[in-house]
Symmetry: C2
């Protein structure tokens, strides 16, 4: 038997566990992270860049995937035959002149994670999480989620004949859009008489005592897939490190993953410096921003308020400690965006043909603030992580453009113009 390259390690007390152990937290109660023996990866695969380049040439799965192209950095102990993939990743790194102009950054890139198979960045984490569950021989996987997480989990689990997925949802708080994906993928969907936190609590308790594998974001294997966002972006830039990554922050798994991947690239010598990282929160749910203002000396929880950026409406982020240590390590900053700022920023990207979710608007609004106060410079190279597809948020978009979002004065109203079915009237209105 080959010695394993990876282990799980507590982020607080440092205690380690075998990766085959079904466990989501350390005995001390804190989160675990997957830690790889980078020296061994470096010596076993002395020419990783060449390997990754080579894989770009092929249409074949799994290595066409923008996660598994970097297999050795993701889950090196996972056998290739256990990989469950849809060719996720390979998302476009948009560089659009109109967006650059609007934000005053010459070299601005939008990494559009909405172009994943289930339309959000969650696919990257789930291909890793479900593959690992498959490797462990799990028959059941579960999560609590009203949105992207359950869609992605159910979609990947559906590819494994021997696996069933279970989704915990709050009764009557889920739209058809949110329900359609899990039930179509065959997930057993529990509609519980409680709120989201109640669902989360129940799924964790059940996973602890029954053979249901937990795929919420405390699962550290998901982070390994998610970190490919940053790896792929830097690869797309031909391994030239941008000055900044800007990323929306809710439960904080995404920023943690981004930082972890970049740090590993740096430690392996695949990149020669670290970028800075800007994490941005919605003002309605800004505990990490508030904590950052105290130099992360205070651990702050808030009661999250209403926000269009519903996927990051989280008052007590699970991955807060991972995230704060990443922000510090990357000479990073945190910012916040109010509802008007985030919707206006989203509208700029949409208008330029890149349809993004309101959370991506949070990141773009943060970029604008940091640029205005000179923290980010016009000449900096900046990559903004856009987390989901705008098409998942039709109501929000229509309400913005027709002036029906409460308390907001949209600067880019674009309501349909009602006209009679008359040639002359249309020509006159169009003024071609």
């Amino acid at each position: 038997m080959t010695l394993k390259i990876s282990r799980m390690e507590c982020i607080a007390c440092g205690r380690t566990y075998e990766t085959e152990e079904t466990r989501y937290r350390c005995d001390c109660g804190d989160l675990l992270q997957v830690v790889h023996d980078l020296d061994r990866i470096g010596s076993e695969f002395p020419d990783l860049k060449e390997l990754f380049e080579k894989r770009k040439e092929s249409f074949d799965l799994p290595y066409r995937s923008g996660v598994w192209r970097y297999h050795e950095l993701i889950l090196p102990d996972l056998p290739r035959r256990k990989i469950v993939t849809k060719g996720e990743g390979n998302t476009t790194l948009y560089r659009v002149e109109a967006i650059s102009r609007a934000f005053g950054v010459k070299n601005l890139y939008l990494k559009h994670e909405g172009e994943n198979p289930t339309l959000s960045f969650k696919d990257r984490g789930m291909t890793a999480g479900v593959s690992w569950a498959h490797f462990l021989g799990m028959k059941y996987v579960g999560c609590a989620s009203t949105g992207d997480t359950s869609a992605a989990m159910a979609a990947y689990a559906a590819q494994v004949d021997s696996m069933e997925s279970v989704v915990f949802l709050p009764y009557k708080k889920v739209s058809p859009e949110q329900l359609a994906q899990p039930i179509s993928y065959g997930a057993r969907t529990l509609s519980l008489d409680t709120d989201f936190d109640g669902c989360m609590n129940l799924v964790q308790r059940i996973c602890k005592h029954h053979p249901l594998y937990l795929l919420n974001s405390m699962n550290s294997f998901r982070i390994e897939g998610q970190k490919a966002i940053g790896i792929e972006a830097v690869h797309q830039l031909n391994w030239e490190v941008p000055d900044w990554f800007v990323i929306p922050v809710g439960n904080a798994g995404n920023v943690s993953a981004l930082g972890k991947g970049l740090l590993e690239l740096f430690q392996l010598g695949l990149i020669d410096r670290l970028p800075r990282i800007a994490g941005v929160q919605a003002q309605a749910a800004n505990p990490l921003y508030l904590s950052y203002k105290t130099g992360f000396s205070e651990s702050i929880r808030v009661k999250a308020g209403d926000t269009c950026a519903s996927a990051i409406r989280i008052g007590d982020p699970v991955s807060r400690d991972k995230a704060s240590s990443i922000v510090k390590r990357f000479d990073g900053v945190m910012a916040e965006a109010d509802e008007s700022e985030l919707m206006e920023a989203k509208a700029v990207a949409d208008r330029a043909g890149v349809a993004v979710c309101p959370n991506s608007g949070v990141a773009l609004a943060g970029l604008k603030k940091l640029r205005n106060r000179g923290e980010i410079k016009e000449s900096d190279t900046v990559v903004v992580i856009c987390t989901a597809h705008g098409a998942k948020f039709s109501d929000v978009s229509v309400n913005y453009h027709t002036g029906n979002l409460p308390k907001l004065q949209p600067s880019r109203l674009n309501a349909p113009l009602r006209l009679p079915a008359d040639y002359g009237a249309i020509v006159k209105a169009l003024d071609l």
Copy 2:
């Protein structure tokens, strides 16, 4: 000045026109197609396969696109700098054991065109159509569409600073999901007091007399982009031609494009035989199927009825003649699928983790029929074109799985299970 490689040619009388001419129909009234000088392409680019392989290695646009990778075959006269792209195409060719089993075809592939930037195959045609409009210096582009076409047109036009798009929609017949994309991309959206046919009629008349460039499916440049679906699929199969392509048919531009691309590959010697093509229609809108039953001797129009496959609810297809000649040339067949058949077939793909639209369900149901009557064999290699993402049809999916589609008895009911927020009750229900 270099002589041009392509011209427009009437599909009926054969009259030719320069490609720079803004024209959608021949003077005789019939449709035009873009015709390339294949001998010249063959001699100017003697090693096309090598060129296409080489482009796979790069992340850079435009040639990372699954359309523009094949630039020489798409619009060879279009200068590279005029290409308007989002890196469309590169959609996964799914091969899923559970789907193969369900349809009784060992080598079954699903080409998932829902994985395009605006979530349908229309992006392939629109990157070509908008690029050509850009090349012609058009300031305004327009179309009538309640769905995928307007989303794609607006998204691509939004990438060109000097271009405005205009969408003609029937008043009050458009859902927020259908409205959100065009208005977000900044399209001028006209909501007209008429039905869809009224919108189509008006946009054609206005485009004829004003500088508004028509991007509905009679635009022959769109077909050139669309045909990359088949080219890319065959390339993904390492230029080994499958026995069958199966494709849903509505306005019939898609099947025409598929056939045109494959024919050109054959004529250029890039493939050594032609596949057969099966076109499948919804029973509620089956004029080409009925016409096929007469050996295409009769040109049949129907009044299209209600169908879950709303995007192909067309009783009088624009590209009927192109399509029938393709079906004949490819030793093809036509089939039809009723509502139950198409929704059941869609549910099979969804359940295996490949979320497709109801139109894709039509194609899959057709496959099943042709397989059952032995036309398609178990040992055949089959590629099914799936045209849009299932996430665009949340209501249809939820209604199917909860048993709320009128007159249908779903075989795969998967309604949410309502439970109290009680540990014991959940464990008992899950029976883990």
